[in-house]
C-alpha cells in the first residue's frame, strides 16, 4: 500500500516538487528573519506563507480522495487553533507552546499508527519505510504525552514539584524504552499483529509521562524545548517514510534548532541536559536549601510601599529585576507606570533580564514589550551585572532563583555555578514577593536574609501600584 503511496509521489509531477522547494526555502528564509527584532514579524509570516504553499502542493497530488474528511478536519483544526492562539494570555504562552507542540507529536504518532493498520502491520514494506515510521511512532508519542504533562504542570493543573518513583524511576523508564524499542524491532523483523504497535504506543506514552512528571517546574522550559526538537525529528522521520522533502527539511530544521535552543537554555542554568532528564531537581534541591535557611532564620526585614517609594525616589539608578512573579501577577503594565514615574524624577531605570527568568528564555522581554517598555532599557545579564555595584536600588519583582547569591558562594547549593544577576552588590535591594515560600526550584534564597535587603510582601501588581501611588503623593 505505502509503496503505492511513494511511487505516486514520484510520478505526480515536478510541479509539486518545485512547490515543496519553494516552501522549505521560505521556511529557512523566514526563520533567518526571526533572528532580529526588526525582521521577526515578517520572518514568521514568510514561514506561514511557505506552509500555505506546502499545503497547496499536497492538494495537487494525483489521485487524492477523501476530500470531505480532509476539509472537515482542516476546518475543525482551524476553529480550535485560532481562538486558542488569539485569547491566550502572554503569561500563559509557554504552556500554549507546549500544547501546540504536543498535538504535533500526536499527529505524527497517529499517522504512523494508521499506516501500520493500513499496510497490515507493515507487511512486505521496505525497512527504509518501516524504520522511520516506527521511530516517528515512538518519538511522536513520547512528545505528545510529555508535552501534555509539561502543559499541566505550567498551567498548575498538576503540582509543579517533581512527582516520581524515586530510585525506581530510572530503571522503570529504561524498561519502558526497551519495551517500545523491542516492539519496534519485532515489527521491523516481520511481526504484523496489532498488539505490537499498541504496546509500542502505550510504552512510549508512559515513557513520555514518566520522564516529564519527575522534572521540577524550574526545568520545564528546557523540557518543552527538547520535546519541540523531538517533534521536529519525528516529523522528519515521517518525511523519510513518505518520501516527502517538505516534511524532511522542515522537520529537521526544527530538530536542529530545538536542540540548540535546549542546549542554550541548559547552559544558562548551568545544568546538563542528562541531569535535567534524570529529574528530581525541584524536590531534592529543596531539602538541601532548607537546611541552609535554618542558619539565617528570622533576619528577614519587611518594608512598606511608602518606604520603598522614598528609597527609589531619591535613587540615581534603579534596576528592575523581573521574574515569574511579575508574569503571574500580570504586573508588567504597573511596572511600566512605576518606571515612568521614576523617570519623571530623573531616576535612571533599567531592567535586568536573566536568560531564564520566567518560564522560558525571552519570556520577560515579551511581557515587558507588551507593556511598551523601550527595548534599549532591557539589559541582558552580562551587560547589567557590572552595573549593580553603582545601583542604588535593585527592585526584584517575583524573581527568585536567578538572584540567589548561593549560586556564587555555596558549593552545597543545587544551583551552585548557575550564572545569576548579582543584585546583592547593589546598595539596597527591595524584593516584592507573595510570601516567604521558596521559588519554583524549591531553594531558599540567601538574598532575603542579607542586611541591605527588605521585603515587600503581597501580590506583585498591587505592590507596584501602591509604590507608584506613594511616589506620586511624595
Amino acid at each position: 500500500m505505502s509503496t503505492v503511496l511513494a511511487t505516486s509521489f514520484i510520478h505526480s509531477g515536478d510541479l509539486i516538487a518545485v512547490l515543496y522547494i519553494i516552501a522549505f526555502s521560505l521556511f529557512i528564509y523566514g526563520l533567518s528573519g526571526l533572528t532580529g527584532p526588526r525582521t521577526a514579524v515578517r520572518g514568521n509570516r514568510i514561514a506561514a506563507v511557505g506552509m500555505g504553499i506546502a499545503l497547496l502542493a499536497s492538494f495537487l497530488i494525483e489521485g487524492m480522495g477523501n476530500w470531505t474528511l480532509i476539509i472537515i478536519a482542516l476546518i475543525i483544526g482551524t476553529i480550535i487553533g485560532i481562538p486558542s492562539a488569539r485569547s491566550v494570555k502572554m503569561t500563559a504562552v509557554p504552556q500554549m507552546v507546549a500544547l501546540f507542540n504536543g498535538v504535533g507529536g500526536g499527529a505524527v504518532a497517529l499517522i504512523a499508527w494508521a499506516e501500520f493498520n493500513d499496510s497490515a502491520g507493515f507487511a512486505g514494506e521496505p525497512l527504509t519505510f518501516v524504520i522511520p515510521s516506527l521511530f516517528a511512532a515512538i518519538v511522536g508519542s513520547v512528545s505528545f504525552w510529555g508535552s501534555n504533562i509539561a502543559f499541566a504542570k505550567l498551567q498548575e493543573i498538576l503540582p509543579g514539584h517533581p512527582i516520581g518513583a524515586g530510585r525506581l524511576q530510572q530503571p522503570l523508564n529504561l524498561l519502558l524504552l526497551l519495551i517500545a524499542v523491542g516492539s519496534a524491532v519485532a515489527i521491523a523483523s516481520g511481526e504484523t499483529a496489532t498488539i505490537y504497535i499498541l504496546v509500542l504506543l502505550v510504552a512510549s506514552a508512559l515513557l513520555g509521562l514518566f520522564v516529564v512528571l519527575p522534572i521540577g517546574g524550574a526545568d520545564m522550559p528546557v523540557v518543552i524545548s527538547l520535546l519541540n526538537a523531538f517533534t521536529g525529528l519525528s516529523a522528519a522521520a515521517t518525511g523519510l517514510a513518505l518520501n516527502n522533502t517538505a516534511l524532511i527539511v522542515a522537520g529537521m530544521i526544527v530538530g536542529a534548532s530545538g536542540t540548540i535552543l535546549t542546549r542554550l537554555m541548559a547552559d544558562a542554568m548551568n545544568r546538563s541536559i542528562p541531569s535535567i532528564i534524570a529529574g528530581g531537581f525541584g524536590g531534592g534541591g529543596g531539602e538541601a536549601g532548607a537546611e541552609g535557611a535554618g542558619e539565617h532564620g528570622g533576619t528577614v526585614r519587611a518594608t512598606s510601599a511608602a518606604d520603598a517609594a522614598i528609597q527609589m525616589a531619591f535613587a540615581r539608578q534603579v534596576v528592575i529585576v523581573p521574574g515569574y512573579g511579575m508574569a503571574v501577577a500580570q504586573a508588567q503594565h504597573a511596572v511600566r507606570e512605576l518606571a515612568t514615574e521614576l523617570e519623571k524624577r530623573n531616576v535612571e531605570v533599567k531592567y535586568a533580564i536573566h536568560p531564564v527568568a520566567g518560564r522560558m528564555p525571552g519570556h520577560m522581554n515579551v511581557l515587558l514589550a507588551e507593556a511598551d517598555v523601550p527595548y534599549d532599557q532591557l539589559k541582558e545579564m552580562d551587560e547589567i551585572n557590572p552595573e549593580f555595584s553603582r545601583t542604588d536600588v535593585a527592585l526584584v519583582i517575583g524573581a527568585n532563583d536567578v538572584t540567589n547569591p548561593a549560586a556564587n558562594t555555596n558549593s552545597e547549593s543545587p544551583i551552585y555555578g548557575m550564572p545569576i544577576l548579582n543584585v546583592n552588590e547593589s546598595k539596597s535591594v527591595i524584593v516584592l514577593k507573595r510570601s516567604m515560600n521558596p521559588g519554583f526550584a524549591g531553594i531558599e534564597n540567601e538574598l532575603y536574609f542579607e542586611p541591605m535587603t527588605s521585603m515587600l510582601f503581597g501580590d506583585a501588581k498591587s505592590s507596584v501600584a501602591e509604590i507608584t501611588a506613594e511616589l506620586t503623593a511624595l
Binding site: L5, I28, L31, L34, T35, P37, V41, M51, A54, L55, S58, M64, G65, N66, A73, L74, I76, G77, G81, A85, R86, P94, V97, F100, V103, G104, G106, A107, L110, I111, A114, E115, N117, D118, I224, N228, A235, A236, L240, N243, A246, L247, I248, A250, G251, M252, I253, V254, A256, S257, L261, L264, H333, P361, G362, H363, N365, D372, Y375, A465
Partner: protein, 104 residues
C-alpha cells in the same frame, strides 16, 4: 531515493543549525514558538495518507482525521501566537497606553 532523502535530512540539519545559532536571547520564546509552528507540517503527512488511502478502515480514517486536526492546530495556533508575540517587539514611537484601567 532513500539515500538522497538522508542526504537532504543531514543538510537540513546543518542549515537549521547555521540559521538558528545567531538568534539573540530575547527572541528565544518567539523562535521556539515559530519552529513549533513549522513542525506542524506533519499535517501534510496526514492529508497525503488519508487522501491516497483507498481502502482505509473506519478506524484508520478516524486516526488520520484526528491527526489532521492536531496538525492544523499546531500550524494555525503556532503561527498566530508567534505573530502576536512578535508584534509586541515592534518599536512604537510613543507609548499609547500609559493611563489605562490598570492605574487603579
Amino acid at each position: 531515493m532513500f539515500i538522497t532523502n538522508v542526504a537532504i535530512l543531514v543538510l537540513a540539519g546543518f542549515v537549521g543549525y547555521a540559521v538558528i545559532s545567531k538568534v539573540p536571547n530575547t527572541l528565544h520564546t518567539p523562535l521556539m514558538s515559530g519552529t513549533n509552528a513549522i513542525h506542524g507540517i506533519v499535517v501534510l503527512g496526514g492529508i497525503i495518507v488519508l487522501g491516497l488511502g483507498e481502502d482505509l478502515s473506519g478506524l484508520d480514517k478516524g486516526l488520520l482525521v484526528v491527526a489532521i486536526i492536531f496538525g492544523t492546530i499546531n500550524v494555525v495556533g503556532g503561527f498566530l501566537v508567534t505573530d502576536r508575540m512578535l508584534e509586541m517587539f515592534k518599536s512604537k514611537p510613543a507609548p499609547p497606553k500609559q493611563d489605562d484601567e490598570e492605574q487603579a
